[in-house]
Subunit: 241 residues, 2 copies
DNA sequence: CGACCCAACTGGTCATGACCAGTTGAAGAA
DNA sequence: TTCTTCAACTGGTCATGACCAGTTGGGTCG
């Protein structure tokens, strides 16, 4: 008897292949609350050992896509993109969640930033800064908009670069000034008309609003505000004493 | 040959025992950057199979205490520069901000909690738990509502105590089980009618919603959801590499 | 009828053993 | 000397197989 959905031997580990297929199954043919086939059934279906099945399922449980209940089964969790609290660019963040990130640049200009930003970036009154407004998507679904200002005094020529590439990567590789610290506040807010339109939600819907200043060794490089769709994004954090 | 630090057979899973010992080792006798014994050495040292060693080490890697490098070894990570996101009770939290906290108990009962809570608290299907719904005020202004379940298996008699006093203080002083770790997720949500009424805001207003599990040394004690008025509360955090 | 028990599920744990894939340093070749 | 090779580490993957521990529903016994 051959397994109905056998996995390939090869470069990609079987538990990775299985993880991907199960994730796909959760997104498409199953709904939150539905039970997955039992682990032993998955062994037969995909022609792998239980070790491999438990590995694949375990990853999805860790990521929050599945929930295991001893004696009952494994179930599809309520869907939520979930971000650990870390210092990562949007691209890294999404890839860590197994999603494909895309960025649409809505606005790119060099201008004098608003007073708050001038203060946060340690600029003088009439210094110019790079202003980017970007829409962020994961697997082609809008996740967030962010409105960011970059310090051109510390990052000369940044406005000449390809803005579709990762800014964080440029800071690290071209300027040797990676963002190694950030201060941010998070609050719940209503989406205004502009944000709502771009994110594809109703104006007034709740969004997570981040206000963040990124530093390289105490030099402020970035001041950004971001608005995240609350139905597709949540913060996850561990607290210890 | 007997393993030098053999683990006990018994109620606690070996990978849990090993996880605890390795965590202890990291905190006491090792420094960030130090290598752990290799997985095969750990097998011999603790008299367990590699499955178990990988399980225990894997948990600590997930938690960020260890880092595995293929071909080189497993190393103690830099201690997470965790934020000022404090592990504090509402009362401590508010006093730190110079406000006077008050609590109104809206509901107190002993009941079988919903499935999610059963899982989070590590209960069995029909175990009962203490259910508290409380309104929190600072300087007499409503700040948040929280809906919490407490583990009565680990905290027998908690339901007999004065619920207006600080629960956290009782956990610490009466049970010697302070909450020393918590996992929480944060998202933006709309206030439903109940929450809106109690908080004195319009239904549909954005609120910060916390979902939190509090632990004492890996024993889950508390599962709580909280809704915070977004106009009176925001999260502040520092992120470092 | 109701209480109990048990078989047949579910996931949880663990040992054994094999082989693959990076890393490193020492032995040998140029 | 310097470069190459390779053996002996490291962690990564996977199969097999056993038994434990919750859950559930159906059947039996009182």
């Amino acid at each position: 008897m051959v397994a109905p959905h056998a996995l390939r031997d090869g470069a990609v580990a079987k538990h990775e292949q299985l993880r991907a297929r199960l994730a796909e199954m959760c997104r498409t043919s199953l709904s939150p609350g539905d039970a997955l086939p039992s682990e032993r059934q998955l062994c037969d279906l995909y022609g792998v050992s239980r070790t491999t099945v438990r590995d694949a399922v375990g990853q999805l449980v860790t990521e929050g896509m599945l929930v295991r209940i001893h004696g009952k089964g494994t179930f599809v969790a309520e869907p939520h993109a979930r971000s650990q609290l870390h210092l990562a660019s949007f691209h890294e963040d999404m890839r860590r969640l197994g999603l494909t990130p895309t960025t649409v640049v809505l606005l790119a200009e060099t201008a004098v930033p608003p007073p708050v930003t001038v203060v946060n970036l340690g600029l003088r009154s009439r210094d110019q800064a790079l202003h980017l407004r970007r829409l962020r998507l994961a697997d082609n679904a809008p996740i967030s908009v962010d409105d960011a200002w970059y310090n051109l005094i510390e990052l000369p020529g940044l406005d000449q670069l390809d803005l579709h590439a990762s800014i964080y990567q440029a800071l690290e590789q071209r300027y040797q000034k990676p963002v190694d610290r950030a201060e941010q506040t998070v609050r719940a807010a209503e989406a205004d008309d502009v944000v709502a339109t771009v994110l594809g939600i109703r104006p007034g819907s709740p969004v997570l609003r981040f206000d963040r200043v990124g530093y390289h060794q105490d030099t402020p490089l970035e001041h950004a505000q971001s608005w995240y769709r609350s139905d597709r994004y949540e913060l996850q954090m561990s607290l210890t004493q």
